[in-house]
Symmetry: C2
Subunit: 645 residues, 2 copies
Amino acid sequence: MQNQKRVVIENVSPQINCGEFPIKRVVKEIVAVKADVLVDGHDIIAVAVLYKSENEKKWSEVRMQHVNNDEWQASFSLQKQGFYSYKVQGWVDYALNWQYGIIKKIEAQQNVELELLEGIAYLKSIKSKLSASEEKYTNHLEKIFVNNKNYDKAIAEASSQKLKEIFIKYPKKEFANATKIYRVYVDRLKAQFSTWYEFFPRSSSQNKDTHGTFKDCEQLLPRVAKMGFDVLYFPPIHPIGEVNRKGKNNTTNASKADVGSTWGIGSKHGGHKDIHPQLGTLENFKSLIKKAKDLDIEIAMDYALQAAPDHPWVKSHPEWFKWRPDGTVQYAENPPKKYQDILPIYFESDDYKNFWKECLDILFYWIKCGIRIFRVDNPHTKPFYFWNWIINEVKQKYPDVLFLAEAFTKPKVMQQLAKQGFTQSYTYFTWRNTKYEFMEYMDELTKTGQKEFMRPNFWPNTPDINPFHLQGANESMYVQRYVLAATLSSNIGIYGPVFEQMISEAISGKEEYLNSEKFQICNYDWSIENNITGIISKINKIRHDHLALQQTNNIKFCNVDNENLIAFYKWNDSKTDEILVVINLDSNYTQQGTLQLPLNDLGIAQGHPLQVHDLFTDNTYSWQNEFNFVELQASLPFHIFKINK
Amino acid sequence: MQNQKRVVIENVSPQINCGEFPIKRVVKEIVAVKADVLVDGHDIIAVAVLYKSENEKKWSEVRMQHVNNDEWQASFSLQKQGFYSYKVQGWVDYALNWQYGIIKKIEAQQNVELELLEGIAYLKSIKSKLSASEEKYTNHLEKIFVNNKNYDKAIAEASSQKLKEIFIKYPKKEFANATKIYRVYVDRLKAQFSTWYEFFPRSSSQNKDTHGTFKDCEQLLPRVAKMGFDVLYFPPIHPIGEVNRKGKNNTTNASKADVGSTWGIGSKHGGHKDIHPQLGTLENFKSLIKKAKDLDIEIAMDYALQAAPDHPWVKSHPEWFKWRPDGTVQYAENPPKKYQDILPIYFESDDYKNFWKECLDILFYWIKCGIRIFRVDNPHTKPFYFWNWIINEVKQKYPDVLFLAEAFTKPKVMQQLAKQGFTQSYTYFTWRNTKYEFMEYMDELTKTGQKEFMRPNFWPNTPDINPFHLQGANESMYVQRYVLAATLSSNIGIYGPVFEQMISEAISGKEEYLNSEKFQICNYDWSIENNITGIISKINKIRHDHLALQQTNNIKFCNVDNENLIAFYKWNDSKTDEILVVINLDSNYTQQGTLQLPLNDLGIAQGHPLQVHDLFTDNTYSWQNEFNFVELQASLPFHIFKINK
């Protein structure tokens, strides 16, 4: 048998999988909690969100407000990194109920002498909690409530806001009911707002046909910083296997000169805790990390859990691999395809716990060198529970560490990895081209449950993805794709300098780069500054200067009567920064249209004059109407407007 | 650290509130379970639903099939009343994975001697479970898998369906993962399919101005049976309070002759375990129950947990009420309104446990007299957890008992009562009038989560509800409302004979009956048979003869190009019975339109000839097209078609 509690609470949001996983936020964000709260009859109920960070013992409380149809809402803000817990508590507030009833009777001019007497019990029940002056007040009320001579004073005080506030301040919470505990994991801001640049260290040399080094990378830092990037991501920096090494363009027979794939990790020179000898020493790497930090750039490492056939583990830990009846080791397969340069880890091994610990140790090793960001290669081919464990273990000690999941796979698997702990995720961005596709995809990311756990990172290109729309495309298309990524998403990245130099030769019919840097050293003119680098720099600066672009979920598409023009409104939670973006999806021609402003969201009435300030060109326009003319040429196919009301 | 399990299962349906409440079914229904099941990489997984009734120790199992996008599905059927448990279990099937891989390699003409050797381990691992002949077979395979001489035979057997079936029959289920347990409560069919008739026993006399008795009620049973009703529901049959008794039309000052409201329960003649002296004795009541049963009618009692001021409890259990400082008992209030003929129960009483037990005892008392159905008065003014407890307690001992919630209140409260255990619920049916309103409401009831726990009971009228659309309405409107209820919903009820005799004088401007039977005895001519009684009888017979109408959730609306014509298709799960209903919502004029058949749902192609047999008129029409002409007059404003393909 339950006790006499009457309040029922259900449908709490936000939550993921019935509270199995914590939702995600960053510091200074809010959690807007909603819940359906019901009671029998018509008594007044009170509802609160109780919350605390993992270090706190005592719950903080914020009262919820009834919105509509038994839905209640309140928000609390997150000051610290780490876990916060929250739950919803509700109770019948007998004191407020008494006051509500007596007010109604007084208004109907009914005699309430009896009700006044009943009120005394509520005053007495909170006495022990009151301050001296509050107690003086309630003592006074107790006196006048019994005494008919003071009836008018009594009913005035009984109905008073002052008394109501005392009841709200000291709720008795009899027979209160509460939900289970839900959790939110709070990351630093970088989890939500990051601008990535990727290049291969071995291609960083200014000299032709020379294997780049970390020292060469240091020379390129100013360039990366100037363009406004704050994460510099390297494909794996470890020794590369020599057995079954891949040749140029992914051929299976490498020549002696071929450098192989950076993802074919492990050789006689070492494994996941070692550095490719041609890149430099550990000291070189630490120096690079530090120099980058001085320029506000974080080095991100590639975490690829697989082994070349000559990885040291094959000899030192044969139990971490699967062995065949003929004594050979099982290489990667997707029957009938064979990938003989890679050995997958045998996660079902009886020795799996030691393997998990070694994987964790690898991360700690590089973290102690100064690394705080890992881009994880193909996490969808390793067990979900492994990732959950290892991400948790790392973040308990190093809450600043961020993990980016590179899983181009089925949607529910991508989402599962995010739920299990990945900070950010690559997405289907490169395969969204039309206005409708973008609107639908952003709706999925920002309006469904995914908004609580997916942090999309939009990459216009990667070493694995040379999108058809960029192959042989003109400058306008490159600019368009960069602006789309950089304004739709607060996390973005490009694989340069292939991107800014518009290098796009492809393997015919595939979204693969010809002579891909994955399998050979490429030489770039690192000094090139062109229109694209200029635009990227300016856009990245705009991102850094505008809070509305440092988040992804607050987005609303605006109607434009032209399929080639996509427009959307973005805002930070407090709406101190409101941005309107318009992009021309036609990389060849000028496009015009009429854009409808979201007046409701802007909180303005028809005819209210606005100024829209183009943050790129510095032009300002005055708009008085709901519908406004926009025109974008292919040569500069976007507006990023700051809205000034 | 988890073990080596890799399968993740989420998003299980059906479920309510994360599995907090059991879903509802009736005997012979199925539960169609869905779940998202994920694994890393591309290995073959196997998924099963495990289920058992509460009496069974061992789980039964049915394998799930992959539908699309990682969603899996399987159904199991419910044979017994009571609770069933179910959960979803998934595992990587290494044996099937081995077989899948070897088949792909064989198709690509790769040599698979090594793979054959690897297969032996899987054969060995299931050996202990095999039958003699199965073991003979696998022993044979073990031999030929090692021996190169039998390579062709070996690869044929390795790829065989026979071997696959053995692996499916004896899954090793290594590192299997399973969800928590979900539950379904299975009622008898009556919970889902019931046809209710309500009248007041005190008005059952054939003589004017005479208080009816249970013996009089027995005289009316054949009439009720003939019209095809299988539940006969009485407002409360207990002694009626004399203190503050209500007079005619709900006046507060009753005359000596006034009989009062049947819901003002309790007087010197007794309380909830007693019978109003003018209705008869307990033996009379038991006799009535038995005679009804012989006609396949179940008597339903009204369970109203409140007391008149002279109810025996006020003296015997003052602690079950709230008392005021002046020594008087608290009557019902909704400030500033007062309801002085009713005392609400004080559920927060310290003695609440004894009250709960007494409430349960009341139910057991009447159950032992032969009652199996209770219509519960205003359950939304009593605590949710009380209902959960008492319904559970009753059904543990008497699983046949059904509870109908009469809660005309906020939607989430209505749904909460259903979740907490009420078998059926009154609905907003009387306030749905237009085609669009019906479509939207049925969508809400049958396509959202409500389909798992709400069992709607559609009442065209009740003693409390004299709908505006019936006030002064013509016969067509009465027929229309009955057909709407009787075909949209498998549970229906009417308050007669007010309904079939079109008695609809109202209190001006309200949906209240004038001279309501709630406050006085009414005299009816119980012998009247008219058009409406004839139509009701026929429709109820159609309901009894057609499984498609004995359920509510399988419904699909059909397009008709006329706002006055509503059409829908209903079917039983196995589609052995398919019904098409068309109703004219215009009670004055003939309406015509073109109806679009749901060819997909019917599983037929364009041009496939159909016969639609009008079950009411016995006419049959041949339809060859997707679009068909329909016409309905106001005099007979409906078709109920049996579809014959």
